[in-house]
């Protein structure tokens, strides 16, 4: 589904070259729910950005369903994003000028195709994320949890193969975070969508099938629930 091969990324800052990713290899299967954890600056967010084609690697490949992302033009990458990738952001990134339903419908409209099913899709997903009655509201009037629901609905409306979530619970309290995670986990199960989530929140990571631990631009370890010493390892890593 996704395979990452010897991924390098560096930034120039003045004369300094800052290496953020130092040769990451990774592969993610369909329907997997993956949490990426690691200290700040370890490169996990950069990896997510490269997976989403928001940025291009310095070298190496990101292949999505066998297609190499890095060889694509800006426009082609946008089209891949529009079709196959959904995003959820820590600060929701909703568009204040659009209503809740318009925000959710954005990825469907963006490719300019008019589809009779679009309306139905939007109504369905609003029901699924529990935002009935708020369709015409401006997102500014919603609570943080509700805004993140809008964001999830928007991330999933076009039924992407992969949902990329960057600290989706970072701005939420435990209760709302759990609700959002419940929702993600539900979609993961129902729609067999792969979810890749960068998080600091061990509770959030608890929902994932696999946890990828990042350190200094490299994958330190991948652990799954079935692995022996899973909790112990997490504990030591997070120490």
């Amino acid at each position: 589904m996704i395979s990452v091969n010897q991924l390098f990324k560096h930034f120039e800052q003045g004369n300094q070259k800052i290496e953020v990713l130092k040769g990451v290899d990774l592969s993610i299967k369909e329907g997997e729910f993956i949490a990426i954890m690691g200290p700040s600056g370890s490169g996990k967010s950069t990896l997510l950005q490269l997976l989403g084609g928001l940025d291009t690697p310095s070298s190496g490949q990101v292949k999505i369903q066998g297609k190499d992302f890095s060889g694509l033009t800006e426009k082609q990458r946008t089209i891949v994003r529009r079709k196959d990738i959904g995003f959820i952001f820590q600060n929701y990134q909703l568009l204040p000028t659009l209503t809740v339903e318009e925000n959710i419908g954005f990825p469907l409209h963006a490719d300019g195709r008019k589809d009779k099913n679009n309306k139905e899709k939007i109504i369905n997903i609003i029901k699924e994320v529990g935002l009935e009655g708020l369709e015409k509201k401006s997102p500014n009037l919603l609570s943080g949890g509700q805004q993140q629901r809008v964001s999830i609905a928007r991330g999933l409306i076009h039924e992407p193969k992969i949902l990329l979530a960057d600290e989706p619970t970072g701005n939420l309290d435990r209760k709302r975070a759990e609700e959002i995670l419940d929702l993600l986990s539900k979609f993961n199960k129902q729609r067999k969508q792969s979810i890749i989530m960068v998080t600091h929140d061990i509770f959030a990571a608890g929902y994932a099938d696999k946890i990828i631990l990042f350190k200094d631009g490299l994958i330190e370890k991948e652990v799954t629930r079935e692995d022996h010493g899973y909790a112990e390892y997490l504990a030591s890593f997070l120490a």
């Binding site: 950005q49 989403g52 928001l54 940025d55 800006e74 426009k75 946008t78 089209i79 994003r81 529009r82 959904g86 995003f87 952001f89 600060n91 990134q93 909703l94 568009l95 204040p96 000028t97 659009l98 318009e102 954005f106 990825p107 409209h109 963006a110 490719d111 300019g112 928007r154 991330g155 076009h158």
Partner: protein, 816 residues
């Protein structure tokens, strides 16, 4: 103290692009104001200067109803102790031998002999050679066309040859054709020593007129003294008057100068307002925190005030010198329309000081509202949300006030337009919201989904977008209004000239024409018939008691439609006068009031019996009856004849014939076509100047649109990052921003066209307006405004759209 200046400077320049655009707006606004004011002063000065050097230091002149008179007749007058200086002048029409391929067979020239070439009563603007050489003085035009320089010899047919010793710049004394085509209808003019000319022409002691300078210059009694003295002789006196209205019809130009400077200030004001307002609103939280930390309201006010002051100081400092330079270029281009050898001195000081003051104060005044907002920001602002209810009330109040103002625009006064302006600005937010709704379907149809986003985005900063669109609307309205003004002139002017030209050809003779001449001309196959009228230059007084000068003309010898010189009144009784439109306006009185005129037979009062349309001297003339000339002035000679050309006759061939047959007698031959052409070309010139200025105004508006879109874009970087991340291509982002520009632009065009038509309508029903215009809708200008408006808003959107599309996705996503 230094600290607050530094803080303000940092705040001002924090947003570099916005600062740059705003600075450009300040600079362009002040630059245009400066150059318009400087151009205004300079053009006025220049015309006045040329009038003044024509008048020299003379106070009176004594002329004859005949071609010339003996200097002995005025010897006594010359010898009076009160006369400090005098200049005797003899004019002689002749032919000059020119060896140029383009020159016509006969090149006529008017030689003016003067008693003293260096006289203070003459003031020749020498550019080359000397006035002392006792040779020929020629103007630059002649030097160029004849290819003559100092030391070359010029031969006058049948008179003699003489060496060129001086070349002079433009002066009305020696106004000459600019090109050979022009030379068909009028003579070149040159100057030489009086004695030589008298000698050549065997007119010993004969002069055409004499100019006098008095010691007691302001004593008007001399006029009546001279009038008494010369009673019963062919001689008469006129005071020397400086009046540039006769030569230049440029009042309209001055209004355009003011209009352009007001408009450019207005547009740059909008841009400044938008920038300062946004910057203050963005920082309200900051201000409230500052206040909670001990800043007083005044401190915060001062902080913003200094920002605006720095902006205006920097902008003005840059704009003033460029403005003066620009004025220089502009005046050169402008005066070139009239006379390309005119020299001028930029009168920049007072205008620059005035513009400097405007430049410093204007942005501060414009920023009054934002500064007040900063001043009033409550301390607890940072902790609470704004009160929506009161905002709503303010909005309703604003709209009601706007509608009231628009209704007040029917007030028949200049105030009406000001009310209209403010009214439109006040209601504009409602207008742009409504228009955005109406246009939504169209924009979405053209631009697709990005267009729909543009429509929603317009609502984010309604006031800013509304201001920008209003600014564009007002510029477009002005373009359309001026278009209508220009269109109302040409639709009439050719017809008007033909109707009141008097025949098809006018010939002015140097000496009175006799029956023989008229018969001879009548016998040409091209000639249908010949008529004449009498004319003489007179001085007169406005109701403000100011001396002016124009041609007094008699009604034509046969006042038929073919020969009429004016329209609107059939005839004129003795003791009354009809004034051309411009003369009437300059005079300032009402019909049936009386006007004082210094006629060849003394000062007389005439009753103004009406205002008439005439193309003679652009309407700066008076008409009295033929009888009045004959009987009251004892003026029987005829100098000007009017020729009606037969249907098969070619007026140009006729002119050539006349030129060769009466070469040394004719001063000017004017074809109605010449007159039309010269009006057309000066009209075209004015039109060009106007269009040039309008382009600049429109360019300024486009900077306004760019600035607004840029601010809109910069404030939404986070959002743009998001829409890029979730599926918009860069092209779609660009389309979205261009869509916003289009909405602002199209709304501005729609409102501008409506507003422009409304202003034309208001003007057409107005009695107070200076420009009397019929209700003409200038369709071609409207089409131009619409195309230009759309093109302009597209151009203006391009930079912001590329900046938006270039935004780094990752840093944009971090913005929120």
């Amino acid at each position: 103290m230094l600290n607050i200046w530094l803080v303000s400077w940092r705040n001002l320049t924090k947003n570099k692009r916005r600062f740059f655009f705003t600075l450009i707006a300040v600079i362009l606004g002040i630059l245009l104001t400066t150059s318009m004011l400087v151009a205004n002063n300079t053009v006025k000065d220049t015309f006045r200067y040329y009038e003044e050097i024509y008048a020299g230091d003379a106070d009176y002149w004594i002329l004859s109803k005949n071609y010339s008179f003996s200097e002995d007749e005025v010897e006594e007058i010359k010898q009076q102790s009160i006369v400090s200086d005098s200049l005797s002048v003899l004019d002689k029409q002749t032919l000059v031998e020119i060896d140029q391929p383009e020159a016509p067979a006969e090149t006529s020239v008017r030689v003016t002999g003067v008693s003293d070439l260096e006289s203070n009563l003459l003031k020749l603007p020498l550019t080359k050679g000397s006035l002392k050489g006792n040779g020929l003085i020629i103007p630059e035009n002649a030097a160029k066309l004849w290819d003559k320089d100092i030391g070359d010899t010029v031969t006058f047919k049948g008179l003699g040859e003489i060496e060129v010793t001086g070349i002079v710049g433009f002066t009305s004394w020696l106004a000459s054709p600019n090109n050979w085509e022009d030379a068909e209808g009028r003579s070149f003019r040159v100057m030489m020593d009086l004695a030589t000319l008298q000698d050549w022409t065997n007119r010993d002691n004969q002069i055409s007129y004499i100019r006098l300078q008095h010691k007691d210059r302001d004593n008007e009694n001399w006029l009546s003294n001279y009038q008494e003295l010369l009673q019963g002789t062919p001689l008469y006196v006129q005071p020397v008057v400086i009046d540039d209205l006769r030569n230049n019809d440029v009042e309209g130009l001055y209004s355009v100068f003011y209009l352009v400077s007001i408009l450019s200030l207005f547009i740059s004001g909008f841009i400044i307002f938008n920038m300062i307002y946004s910057s203050v609103i963005e920082r309200k939280k900051e201000f409230s925190i500052m206040k909670s930390l001990g800043y007083t309201n005044f401190n915060v006010f001062k902080l913003v005030f200094i920002e605006v002051f720095l902006l205006s100081l920097l902008g003005t400092a840059i704009a003033l010198p460029i403005g003066v330079l620009f004025a220089d270029l502009f005046v050169e281009m402008l005066l070139g329309i009239f006379q390309d050898t005119m020299v001028y001195t930029l009168n920049w000081k007072s205008a620059t000081i005035l513009s400097g003051l405007i430049g410093l104060l204007f942005p501060i005044i414009i920023s009054g509202i934002p500064m007040y907002i900063a001043f009033k920001t409550p301390i607890i602002y940072a902790m609470r949300n704004s009160n929506k209810n009161s905002r709503f009330r303010v909005r309703i109040l604003r709209y009601l006030l706007g509608i009231t103002f628009i209704l007040l625009s029917f007030v028949d006064n200049y105030l009406g337009y000001i009310f209209l302006l403010f009214g439109v600005v006040l209601i504009y937010p409602a207008v742009i919201k409504a228009l955005a709704k109406v246009l939504a379907a169209l924009i979405e149809k053209i631009l697709g989904y990005p267009g729909r986003l543009s429509v929603s985005n317009i609502k984010v900063n309604t006031n800013r977008n509304a201001n920008t669109s209003a600014m564009l609307a007002i510029s477009i309205a002005v373009v359309i209004f001026l278009g209508s003004a220009l269109e109302s002139i040409p639709s009439g002017f050719e017809k008007e000239i033909r109707q009141t030209f008097g025949g098809d050809i006018q010939v002015q003779f140097e000496e009175p024409v006799n029956e023989e001449t008229i018969n001879k001309i009548n016998s040409y196959t091209e000639v249908e018939s010949v008529e004449w009228f009498r004319e003489t230059m007179v001085t007169w007084k406005t109701i403000e008691n100011e001396f002016k000068e124009f041609y007094l003309m008699s009604t034509p010898s046969k006042n038929t439609e073919e020969y009429q010189l004016f329209e609107g009144q059939d005839n004129v009784t003795s003791n009354s006068i009809l004034l051309g439109e411009r003369a009437f306006d300059e005079w300032g009185g009402e019909v049936n009031d009386s006007i004082t005129i210094n006629t060849p037979s003394g000062t007389r009062e005439y009753q103004v019996s009406g205002k008439v349309n005439t193309s003679q001297d652009g309407g700066y003339v008076g008409f009295i009856s033929e009888n009045e000339f004959k009987e009251s002035f004892n003026w029987n000679d005829i100098n000007t004849i009017m020729i009606s050309v037969s249907d098969s006759g070619n007026p140009y061939e006729l002119r050539e014939k006349l030129n060769s047959d009466f070469a040394t007698y004719i001063s000017t031959i004017t074809l109605v076509e010449d007159q039309i052409e010269s009006s057309q070309s000066s009209f075209d010139g004015m039109n060009e100047v106007m269009q040039f200025l309008l382009i600049i105004v429109i360019a300024l508006s486009s900077i306004g649109i760019s600035n607004t879109l840029l601010m809109n874009t910069m404030e939404r970087i986070g959002e743009i990052g998001t829409i890029r991340a979730i599926g918009f291509t860069t092209k779609q982002v660009r389309t979205m921003i261009i869509g916003e520009g289009l909405i602002v632009g199209i709304a501005g065009i729609i409102m501008g066209v409506l507003l422009g038509i409304f202003v034309i309508y208001l003007n057409s029903i107005s009695n107070a307006s200076a420009m009397h215009m019929p209700f003409i809708i200038p369709w071609s200008n409207i089409v131009l405004a619409i195309t230009a408006g759309i093109f302009l808003s597209l151009i203006a959107s391009i930079i912001p759209s590329y900046i938006a599309a270039k935004i780094n996705l990752l840093s944009a996503l971090k913005e929120n």
